[in-house]
């Protein structure tokens, strides 16, 4: 499974793609089971360079508590910094946050790999 993520230009907020628009919560993100629609969404997102910066696809795993990014970095992006649970989206709590916190997957983050490549 995949999701499409980026940072919003105007404020840097972490956002996810959902049916043609950007949403702030991972719980509202569109999850793609197949490659083709995921790639199509990524192409569409790249055509919005004045809305978001550097969109990229991330891998998602269906855990017992719900879906969550496989990469630790992407879980941190979806939640907020682990040293300040009162900051970021994790502060709002709920099932979506619980599912991400419960996830244990490990994978290199495509976001970081892209960033290093560009450097």
């Amino acid at each position: 499974m995949k999701a499409l993520t980026a940072n919003r230009l105007i404020d840097g907020e972490v956002v996810f793609w959902s049916q043609g628009r950007w949403v702030e919560h991972f719980g509202d993100a569109e999850l793609f089971d197949a490659e083709a629609p995921a790639e199509a969404a990524a192409t569409g997102a790249k055509a919005q360079p004045n809305v978001v910066i550097d969109p990229y696809l991330i891998d998602i795993e269906q855990g017992e508590a719900g879906p969550a990014p496989i990469s630790y970095r992407e879980r941190l992006r979806a939640l907020g910094p682990s040293n300040t649970p009162q900051h970021g989206k994790q502060a709002e709590g709920g099932a979506e946050v619980a599912a991400i916190l419960a996830a244990h997957g490990a994978a290199r983050s495509s976001g970081r790999v892209n960033l290093i490549k560009r450097k």
Binding site: N50, Y72, S82, A107, R108, L115
Partner: protein, 552 residues
Amino acid sequence: MYQYDAIDREFLTDRANEFRHQVARRLSGELTEDQFKPLRLMNGLYLQLHAYMLRVAIPYGTLNPRQLRRLAWIARTYDKGYGHFTTRTNLQFHWIKLKDAPDILDALAEVDLHAIQTSGNCIRNTTADPRAGATAEEIDDPRVWAEAIRQWSTLHPEFSFLPRKFKIAITAAAKDRTAAKLHDIGLMLRRSRDGALGFEVIVGGGMGRTPHVGPTIKEHLPVGRLLSYLEAVLRVYNRHGRRDNIYKARIKILVAALGAEEFGRQVEEEWAKIDAAQVDLPDVELARIRGFFAPPAFDVLPRVSAAFEEAKSKDADFARFARNNVQPHKQAGYAIVDVSLKRPGDTPGDATAEQMEVVADLAERYGFGDIRITHEQNLVLPHIRLDDLPVVHAALQAAGLATANINLVSDIIACPGLDYCALANARAIPIAQSIAERFAEPDRAEAVGELKIKISGCINACGHHHVGHIGILGVDKKGEEFYQLTLGGSGAEDAEVGKMLGPALPAGRVAEAVDQLVEVYLRERQEGERFLDTFRRAGVAPFKEAVYAEAD
């Protein structure tokens, strides 16, 4: 401290205005991200994991109360109520919105602050001894020279697009509190045998992927020739630095490739060609700058303060604070006070807006309005009367700023790591917290004595792990956070790059491993030895055995 004049102020206002237009053009789509990114970086604005980060320059780590209060106001108004002091003695705001950045730059400019040259391949903020002007150990005030360097390097057209970023440190004390030997250029003020003031010039130190302790290329540079000599060093670097490979672009690689002697020879050759009169500071200008750093109007006081002595004997917390956070001052009846931003459980280097305001108030009421930032992510009130220490301590204590742990095991440097930084492999802050909490019992921390732990979330080494007595580097093992330990590093006058202990450890093992290392030290140490000394004498074997024994 140095005061901006009307031209400086006008320039800052113009520059903030220019950025306001650039942001507007970006938001309207007139500028692409590729066009805009270098512009925002020139104004210290990075994009991190959760938001933009604004890095504010704090020239040689010196602030006045008005500036610190403004930083607190920005933290409260545009961020989440706190700021993060870095190993470059700058301040980072981690939750900035692009649309607010122009207003923030305006607010900074009003108090003579900015974010220029906090990013990019230019000469960055100079690090200076945080005890400058207060310690009896120094032979001159390094801030005078740091200010001269600031003026010379600010918007220097020739050095605005170097092969890579460039960092200078300066100290005038034998005890180095700036990590001078790990900077692109380290300047150590010394007196020659005939009493003349000069700089020992160290070039090509650095951390990151390829750590180097910098070699000395000039034993004694007459102080008046500083700027022309720096210009010569930068020219040689600008000409021959490896622009083709980002990993080889720092001056340390060039110096290592050429050898210190040959590099020094090329600098001399270049130096001879420079019209020194155009570059070196005229004596009148030097005197003008020096005037800004004249000592404050100290009172004539006895060496011993009854109030201070009494508080020490009556209040054990205060006595501990006096032992660890209070340093001798060159002026009788005064002391240098270290304000720890390392309360166990807190994020190293973070200060809340309220804490910033408390420190600003104390500096104003009791400390001649002088505040310093250390590269170890703490604050300093450099001029406090011994008589006032009990009330200053009480105010710090009420604000959670009186942790008596300077240079102890819980006084840990940690970069923002994967909690904030887009380049990180692993988190640094929670590791620091887990170690500090393990050693939160102050008697135990004091019994262990000086022990510098430094943690970086990736090989860029913003957390100075290479020069930690215990260094900790976050690595990515197939997407999991692991930590590589090094031992025996030092960023001080006895600078050395730490040696690898063994295979990287999972996050859950790091605090325990530090505990095991400390136990080996306590067992092996001889009279008067710090952790570092014991390691240097006993070698890595007993430490390695303690940490990896079970695994075998």
